[in-house]
Amino acid sequence: MSMRKRIEGLFDRQVADLVARQEFQDLENGRASPQDYDRFVASVVRTHLKSPQLVAFLYALAPPRAADHLRHNLLEELGIEDEAGVAHPSLLEDLARGSGLGARLAEFEALAASDIRKFAGDPLLYGTLRDVGLAALCEVTAFEFMLSRLASRFARALASRRGLSAASLRWFTHHSEVDVRHAEQGLDDLVEYIRAYEFSEEDAWTIVDMTLRENVFVKRYFGEMSVRL
């Protein structure tokens, strides 16, 4: 099986695992409490608020054939890919405000900043930036993949069950099904990164597998790295 297929299979399993989680189902069927919806929104904000910085880090490591797409992603995150662009952190702030969590934005900002501090300050597991970059690119691509499949379902749930406006849900609609092409490109970039940096298939897979041995979506949206309100 090709590396791309293996990675896509792993992403698919993680998405299926997320969808099977009670917390996800409760968001969709309305059994979640108002606090659960707020906690989910807060966790999404915390998880993605610093995405531009992470994408910038990945752009710095991008091999030539993946650089264009990663630069586009970075410009899009910053809201300067075209005249109508809006910075994604602003969309996340709109999401928090639309959920009545505007007063807690500073708290979410501090949590997201502390995540970056840990990412940068914790002892590195791998010995090269090449390896660290693969792990980071893998996680970012996994989220892009998941959001391309589930963002519209999250948006529908928050609109119908929590009454959030379309304006406050723009971050989700931006990442919804129309982004499938982006996710496909992300997988291509990942494979190109592995090729360009001359990873052996075994080493590349080991890093991908270690990065995703926990379900990162569950961990960040509902689990240990979610926001406790």
Partner: protein, 381 residues
Amino acid sequence: MRIVSATAHALRIPFVEAFAHSARERSCSDSVVVRVVDDAGVEGWGEGAPRPYVTGETVDFMLRHLAESLCPRLLAVDLPPLCVPADLPAIDALIPDTPTPGVLSAGASRAALEIAVIDCALQRADRSLAALLPPVRKKVVYSGVITAGSRDKVAEHARRMKLIGLHQIKIKVGVGDDVERVRAVRDVLPNASLRVDANGAWTPDEALRTIEELAPLGIDAIEQPLPRGDIAPLGALRRQSPVPLMVDESLVTMADAEELIAARACDFFNVRISKCGGLARCRAIARRALEAGIQVQIGSQVGETAILSAAGRHLAASIDPLAFTEGSYGTLLLSEDIAAETVRFGHRGEAPLLGGAGLGIHVLEERVRRYATNTVTVPAV
């Protein structure tokens, strides 16, 4: 200084993935964390990881023993100052040894309380544990441990360790197909120092046969080949074994240490804080081993939190010479740790010394409470 209250929490933190050896498979931590508060309102944290198959202690026993026997004794006395290494045994001496049927030693209970009191006293004095355990090295290098599992699983773990740069690896054996499983690791890590740990799974005949088969793979130590018990077979095995032997379950108390030394039954001691009853006892056992020409490994319990990891870091930094160190897996194994700081090792298994007062970590009480399955409080006196 007096301790005025103590709280013991039984903790179960899920693992990122299950960990197995010949005696047990676990998918979450099993430890007791102790919080003490002194008369100035300063807190200290300690931890013990009871292992029924090693010392006879269980989590329930620990909670009861701490609440009924150990903590009340500590709450009633003025604690001595802790300034220099010679002060370390003073706290240990205040914790009573109370023989209990079915319990070989209450090491985990003692360790949890001793570490908490030491952390508290040092926090109050704004002094690091390094004052009592002066470091002799600038970093601690940890071994990786490979869980018992299929040949493919073991090889997968070995590949992870190769990428993490670990160069000292212990493989859990005693589960069948041991030689092939160790060979799979050797194939991935041709230059690493390999040890194996049977957790007492073999008979003397099985042990000798398997060790002879493993020896050509380049093994630096065989840990606990036989079950704890009569030392004579262990001594006989050592005389025939082509690979040095390490004791773990056979070494719980200082009396065990003396018996093993007298019988010349091993080449290494695996000294673990929770098993051996705390920092002072571990230091004493390690010192005795080195005097007797036995090498020392500072080991750990699977699923230790940042508290035992930090205590182990300080202890390992202070022992010279030190053959191997285990532990500090942190969030490589736990889905979440309970301290603000990351205590886990990094690339090549290297971890820096810990600064700051006490253990050098800030335990997050909210997280402790979140993972607590049972809590007992010894009220203020």
